[in-house]
């Protein structure tokens, strides 16, 4: 354990009475909402899938918010300070095409198969082996992520507010435990929608006031160039022609193929944490629209994440440093968002900003824990441990699993204290399972010849490839030039290529093994594979209500943003 974390730290901001009242009201509100929703979460469908009653807007905002945690906000604001507008790629090419692809192409299969989870889809498509492997790896990752979220929140609260780290961990996790165990996915979704509004209202003032201070966008660019004349922080694509001409050590192939085609597609279309929100939609059209609605807001998120980092580059007198070289009196990249909050926000607004961060962390924990409860109950407990129990038994298992999952997360949070760089490893670990899973799910949906043995072997081979590449690059830095195509590739660039190789291996192994093994009969593939049975058509609705129309609008807007910030 790192005991330095337990000592009183110099705090970045001080809270007034009104700020504390705003934070207290938030905790009270989420608990009350959890208790209120308990009466609506009595059956398995209610508890694990919010009754499949959510409108496209609620499912869409929840889908986006499940990913918009505070770890994400603080981390990417810090990355924007470090890498400039390149960080916006994770919100644009790293999200928008995948969200639209999920809505238009993949959602019909998830929705009409009536699956409750992504491992549940693999069960229908490939059988128990691939589903079990994916469920176990997903359960492991969600619990780890929940614990890391918890630890990150406690650490931020300690650095920013000087709060005791144990107090933050226990109060936040008990609150999340009570409201998720009460209302299940209903509670998680309601709180994610609340969090969405809190984050926007809590963070949007920073770019508004920052741009006023810097003299608009042109003034901001001029100030950054003045402060950092040797770097180009304000162009998204024009510096990606060579690894050495941008601060990330990234090449455009890594962004387009590694991030856009694999990591992003894998995360947004197969990570059950986000897909679960869309499965809760009330009908197929809402399920298709939900990720597309989310994509419009996702395009705007750089306003509250990337822009504060750029404003930090322009207006802060001190130069922030990496965590690894932090000295007393200095601030790290990851503190840029709290620093901006303290710069512009007085009493009340500061409380709102801190509440937005707390809400983001708690929603992150709730999302992970509710997804874990579903996958454990439906994809591990029911098929492998107790097959034929009553619906009430599985709901009860889901509630207990939420509590047990939280306690394991608390253990993980304390474990995380011992490893300064655990965040880097968790991010890498996360990509181990997501990149090959995308290959497996996509082949399963689009190629009826893919066999159960092929699916399992491909998923396993892809995962082992990612782990192997990660370990070999850590053990021998010379291999970075081999796997990531340049010795200058930094951590994020390495992750992109690692994901790309792992997905390619997964696809190649799945295809090779499938061609040598027996496929499932077509009668068992109805509703889960493209071309085996017709996909239900949408009802005859005006063009403004059609998901495909809004998907096209989102793509045009996305292309326009790339052009503006080229």
């Amino acid at each position: 354990m790192n005991y330095a974390l337990l000592l009183p730290a110099e705090r970045l901001v001080r809270l007034s009475t009104v700020d504390l009242a705003i934070i207290a009201i938030y905790f009270l509100a989420v608990l009350c909402i959890g208790f209120y929703l308990k009466r609506f979460a009595q059956s398995g469908e209610d508890f694990f899938l919010a009754g499949r009653k959510m409108t496209a807007w609620v499912a869409g905002l929840s889908f986006l918010s499940a990913n918009l945690g505070s770890l994400e906000l603080l981390g990417w604001a810090g990355s924007s300070y470090q890498y400039g507008i390149l960080a916006a790629h994770w919100y644009w090419i790293g999200a928008i095409p995948a969200m639209i692809f999920l809505g238009i192409v993949m959602m019909p299969f998830y929705y009409i198969s009536k699956t409750h989870s992504v491992p549940g889809y693999l069960q229908l498509r490939y059988g128990r082996a691939a589903s079990g492997l994916s469920a176990v790896s997903f359960g492991f990752m969600t619990i780890l992520m929940s614990g890391v979220n918890m630890f990150a929140m406690a650490k931020v609260m300690q650095v920013v507010l000087g709060w005791n780290i144990h107090f933050s961990i226990w109060v936040s996790s008990l609150t999340v435990g009570i409201y998720v165990a009460s209302g299940g996915l209903f509670s998680a979704i309601f709180n994610e929608v609340l969090q969405f509004f809190l984050i926007w209202f809590g963070a949007l003032l920073i770019p508004i006031l920052g741009l006023i201070e810097a003299g608009g966008w042109r003034g901001l660019v001029a100030r950054i160039q003045h402060n950092f004349p040797e770097q180009n922080f304000t162009h998204a694509w024009s510096t990606l022609g060579r690894f050495e001409s941008n601060p990330m050590g990234m090449h455009w192939t890594g962004i387009v193929f590694g991030l856009g085609a694999v990591i992003s597609m894998g995360y947004w279309t197969t990570d059950f944490l986000v897909v679960q929100r869309v499965l809760a939609a009330k009908d197929l059209r809402s399920a298709k629209l939900a990720p597309i609605i989310g994509s419009f807001f996702k395009m705007a998120v750089p306003l509250i994440v990337v822009l504060p980092g750029l404003i930090g580059l322009a207006v802060l007198n001190e130069h922030l440093v990496p965590e690894s070289t932090l000295q007393p009196g200095q601030h790290s990249y990851n503190e840029v968002l709290p620093l901006m909050l303290a710069r512009y926000c007085g009493p009340g607004l500061m409380g709102l900003g801190v509440t937005a961060l707390v809400a983001g962390f708690m929603a992150g924990m709730a999302g992970n824990v509710s997804a874990f409860a579903t996958v454990w109950t439906y994809d591990i407990y029911r098929p492998f441990i107790r097959k034929a129990a009553t619906d009430q038994h599985y709901v009860s298992m889901g509630r207990w699993c939420t509590i047990v999952g939280l306690f394991i997360s608390i253990g993980t949070a304390y474990m995380a204290m011992g490893f300064a760089s655990i965040m880097d490893y968790v991010q890498a670990l996360f990509s181990f399972f997501i990149a090959p899973l995308f290959g497996t799910v996509l082949l399963g949906m689009l190629w009826k010849r893919a066999t159960p043995v092929g699916g399992f072997c491909g998923l396993l081979a892809g995962t082992l490839t990612a782990i192997g590449i990660f370990l070999s690059m850590k053990l021998d830095h010379d291999l970075v030039a081999v796997f990531a195509l340049s010795p200058r590739a930094q951590g994020l660039a390495q992750d992109m290529y690692q994901a790309l190789w792992s997905c390619l291996v997964c696809v190649m192994v799945t295809v090779a093994v499938s061609l040598a093994t027996t496929p499932k009969p077509e009668t068992e593939l109805i509703g889960v594979v493209y071309g085996v049975a017709p996909i239900p058509m949408e009802e005859n609705v005006p063009i403004l209500h059609k998901p495909i129309f809004w998907g096209a609008v989102a793509l045009v807007l996305f292309a326009f943003l790339q052009w503006i910030f080229w």
Binding site: V18, A21, I22, Q42
Partner: protein, 71 residues
């Protein structure tokens, strides 16, 4: 859903929270009008107009999505 009871829309809760927070921030901004906190651009009194905006939006959501008795 397993009960016949209508669930209160999430938008009502969003509105209520924005309304309460907006009122607190607005009043806090008014209280420090003559003696603003030492933040950059404090002369713009962001708390007042941002809090006011939240009150208006929150109030609208509360009115539009308030629980109604089903006939």
């Amino acid at each position: 859903m397993s009960e016949k009871r209508q669930i209160i829309p999430v938008w009502f809760f969003v509105g209520l929270l924005l309304l309460i927070y907006g009122a607190l921030i607005f009043m806090s901004g008014l209280a420090e009008w003559r003696n603003p906190s030492p933040t950059v651009l404090a002369n713009l009194h962001a708390s007042v107009w941002w809090g006011g905006l939240m009150v208006v939006l929150g109030g609208a959501y509360v009115i539009l999505f308030r629980p109604r008795r089903s006939s």
